[in-house]
Subunit: 245 residues, 2 copies
DNA sequence: CGTCACACAAAGGTGTTACCTTTGTAAATA
DNA sequence: TATTTACAAAGGTAACACCTTTGTGTGACG
């Protein structure tokens, strides 16, 4: 039964359950199943053309993300949004890929406003010489690329810049947000929430952050980063598309 | 074989895999298996006296937390710490229960410093009348309990206070940290990282936060909360036990 | 004799199936 | 309305066949 979809799944992912997991995760976070809805393993395993074992493993992961709760005699009950592990990278990716991406980008940007200034301060205190130098390099590179309008390369440099700070601050909780923030940066370019050409203010602020970190000026780095990221937040919240979401 | 441990596991948890998961999670986050070590399903299922299916489901969850990576012909390879999903509540709980709790408390407190001020600001903007009132009530209650030296009740009020702020700010990313922060608060009392009697400064600051939120003064709430949580951080980092960890 | 390449075999995760147990839920009954 | 009963669906076990990976052994070539 369902040979076609089985083969498709196998081809798509070396591990079959990965494909099923993504599909279901997208559906649930996308709101295609109202909270309280009960799915059954039986039904799902037929739908995806996989065995019970595979379906159960997928279910366990979904359960561990609090997207569903497994109840005997009932099935997998879709949980309300407020129970989801919204900080998990997979949940974030699914939500960024589904409807409500604008919303997701806003809440994540608020998280950035909270975290990145302190990460910058931490980096100013703890970063190695290599990192300090690299940050300055990246900042000037971003200016060049930004002014040249090379958005892709700009994005790459931007991601590296912020990732570097999150790793250099020596707090693993902050570092754990690296991937998330990378996706936010990528996501907002993709969805046209960025001006065609980065604002000069943003470029200046990246420079300031890099300089302060290089100089070991924690407070300066924190302040500059706060301005930077608040600028981003304001830019997003005044963009029509975001406002509409 | 291993009848005893099987029955123990069954008795402990209605779902058997929960017990196994906790045990293994504690071991790995506790550093009992060096990164790169390969465990095998075969071995583990014998050790815990569970079937292969159950062991595989546990493994999938561990894998989804990036505590292990499953490789054919090799087994479950324990991942280095920097790959772990350190923001996941379970990982946090395991690490708080294992060695390195002091470390964990410090990194989490830094996270609090980042997040809670903005949560307070958000609450000042968005909280309902009920919440504003409740916060004031809690603040005065904390003063009474703190001065009376009733640490348990104080802790409960403290947890509710901070949880309320994280929920009222209407950013689900912040709200998702509620449980984590509750455990941090509980953890630091348990591990003697708190003075016998809460400092008056802290009590004053809770009051100030509540008042500012009640008044809709976002900036005031943010500042007060920042002072509060920085005070906590400094208190922890100067405590001998924490410094030793 | 030493080294490199290729072939083969074993180990262990991946996926499937069948079957039994346990337990909520809901329907039927008193 | 309260209680029993039946059943559906998850929880758990067992036994397979299969596919990848990897280590090792053998042979060819230098």
């Amino acid at each position: 039964m369902a040979e076609a979809s089985r083969d498709a799944a196998r081809a798509a992912a070396p591990v079959m359950h990965g494909a099923v997991l993504d599909a279901l995760g997208l559906e649930i976070t996308g709101g295609q199943h109202a909270p309280g809805t009960a799915l059954t393993l039986e039904h799902l395993q037929q739908r995806f053309g996989v065995s019970r074992t595979v379906m159960r493993e997928v279910m366990r992961i979904l359960e561990s993300l609090n997207l569903v709760a497994s109840r005997r005699r009932v099935g997998l009950v879709v949980q309300p949004m407020h129970r989801w592990r919204v900080l998990d990278p997979r949940v974030i990716r699914w939500r960024l890929d589904g409807p409500g991406r604008a919303d997701q980008l806003r809440t994540l940007t608020d998280l950035r406003v909270a975290v990145e200034p302190l990460a910058a301060a931490g980096a100013a205190r703890h970063a190695t010489a290599d990192v300090r130098e690299r940050l300055c390099t990246l900042a000037t590179r971003m200016r060049q690329l930004g002014e040249a309008g090379e958005l892709d390369a700009f994005l790459a440099a931007d991601v590296e810049f912020h990732a570097l700070l999150l790793q250099a601050c020596l707090n693993e909780m902050f570092t754990a947000l690296t991937g998330v923030i990378a996706e936010v940066l990528a996501g907002r370019t993709e969805h046209g929430l960025m001006p065609k050409c980065p604002r000069p203010v943003a470029l200046d602020l990246h420079d300031r952050v890099a300089d302060c970190v290089a100089a070991g000026d924690a407070w300066g780095a924190e302040t500059a980063m706060r301005e930077l990221v608040e600028e981003v937040r304001d830019a997003i919240s005044t963009t029509p598309e975001a406002a509409a979401g």
